[in-house]
Amino acid sequence: MTQPVDHSLQDPPKLPFEPLIQRNAVITEQPWVRWLLIATALIFLAGFLLLPLVAVFVEALRNGLGTYVEAVKDPDALSAIKLTLVVAAIAVPLNMLFGVAAAWAVTKHQFRGKQFLITLIDLPFSVSPVVSGLIYVLIFGAQGYLGPWMSDHDFKVIFAIPGIVLATIFVTFPFVARELIPLMQEQGTDDEQAALSLGASGWQTFTRVTLPNIKWGLLYGVLLCNARAMGEFGAVSVVSGHIRGMTNTMPLHVEILYNEYNFAAAFAVASLLALLALLTLVLKSYLEWRLGDELSATRKH
């Protein structure tokens, strides 16, 4: 059986001659300037961005694959990997729910002080990661505001997993909201109005109309949020207490190994995080492409 030919996918008929390419010479630079600028930028990016990435993998494999596998399969490394995954699995969904709620409140309604609220949501980005950890120590630490009450009730936050989760939530707080707010602003409320006037409930409108409209933007925010959550170092370092096999996340484990001059193992664990970063970049490029569709689809009507 032959497939029916879809004519819409075929190339348009060729012209008998190539169209003239007009380079507007007045608004571009002379070739030597162009090549100089491109070459400078490429050398800079290669030396400055790519070389560190390459260095991670070269250093990780310096003593052979055996050492690499050993470093990754070390019980402390495995528990660090597990803790990192657990923390991200708690922090990311919470921030996702918050991000969607905040974006809905900010973009689908009018109220005074909206811009101020958006600024407050962005606030954690301008706070040093170390300060992000410190604020929870001041509250839950032994000398903190809630410290005595917590020790009475035998409940630990600082130097325990809840503190790590809290600090991670703080530093990844704005990611989802910040991606969704411009997108949902652009999309307006017309689609939702239509659904509501046709008798859909608020929840139906959200799940059947809004969510499909924002899904790529949402995934994009979640992706960035997750990358930061798994890689956060400063904030987590303050609250974790660095107890091996207990409160050590992957980045903290890298630090411990490095400070013990166990460079090959440090770079081995680091290479796992670098792979995560690369995966994030690939997915991000894909989502940006889909997100472009999402935006242009809403701009059409």
Binding site: V131, L134, L138, V254
Partner: protein, 284 residues
């Protein structure tokens, strides 16, 4: 005269029956509660604690030479790194927007590597490259340039961290810039260089300034990528966030809080100033 009102060409006002979107109370409630519990109340705690020191106590805690040097290094290194990034970020954004070359799309994606790569990984990788026997360090050492374990190392780490901020804020503005203006300048007899400085640069200046500010703000607070390469010599290459951690480990909560409050205040004031500057340059 009634016919005039009947044929009024103005569009009819929106229907009064326009529905109000549901869920405001619920989503706003979630937003405010979560924001307060996670961000606002804990942050306010720092200022509350710092105000407990009193003005004298606060000043006493941050006016020691060690704290002063750490703050100076954090802000100074972040400033130099941001200046460097403004120059090279602009170059990279320009090359990406205006020229075509092999591998552009992959490199464009790679710009975000410093966002995606955990800071501790960046830190140890940069240290490996720039230490005396590293790939880059071995060429700089004979020239008498020591990067790792000196303040220069701090600047290098912050340059790595801050680059995407400048590129990603300048790039979209450059893409939208009207080429007609450049044509007009050329027709009126400007050289290409004059056009670049007098026509293109003013258009992108606000975004460049924003990128600079974002890179600077991130650099001031940066910790993970810096501590490995800095060497952390007190008074020389010790950054303010590290000093906070050291004070915490010594159970000097008041000292740590004072440094944190000082950092927060200076950061907020500078972000505010830059916002005003930007609003002013937009109006012009």
């Amino acid at each position: 005269m009634t016919s005039l009102t009947l044929s009024d060409p103005r569009p009819s006002p929106p229907l009064k029956t326009r529905r109000v979107m549901p869920g405001f109370g619920l989503t706003m409630g979630i937003t405010l509660v979560y924001l307060s519990l996670i961000v606002l109340i804990p942050l306010a705690g720092v200022f509350f604690k710092a105000s407990g020191l009193g003005w004298d106590g606060f000043w006493h805690a941050i006016s020691t030479p060690r704290v002063f040097n750490a703050l100076k290094l954090s802000f100074g290194a972040a400033f130099f790194a941001a200046v460097f990034n403004a120059v090279f970020g602009l170059l990279v954004a320009w090359v990406f927007v205006r020229y075509e070359f092999f591998g552009k799309r992959v490199l464009d994606a790679a710009i975000d590597l410093p966002f995606a790569l955990p800071t501790a990984v960046a830190g140890i990788a940069l240290t490996a490259l720039y230490s005396g026997n590293g790939w880059i360090g071995q060429f700089l050492e004979p020239l008498g340039i020591k990067v790792a374990f000196t303040p220069i190392g701090v600047v290098v780490a912050l340059m790595f961290i801050g680059l995407p901020f400048v590129v990603r804020t300048v790039q979209p503005v450059l893409e939208e810039a009207e080429k007609e203006l450049e044509e007009a300048a050329a027709v009126l007899g400007a050289t290409r260089f004059q056009t670049a400085v007098r026509v293109i640069l003013p258009t992108i200046a606000p975004s460049l300034l924003t990128g600079f500010a974002l890179a600077f703000a991130r650099g001031v607070g940066e910790y993970g990528s810096v501590i490995f390469i800095a060497g952390n010599l007190p008074m020389v290459s010790e950054i303010a966030p590290l000093l906070i951690i050291i004070k915490l480990e010594e159970f000097d909560y008041r000292g740590a809080t004072a440094v944190a409050a000082a950092m927060l205040i200076i950061s907020f004031v500078m972000l505010l100033a830059i916002n005003l500057l930007q609003g002013w340059s937009r109006k012009k």
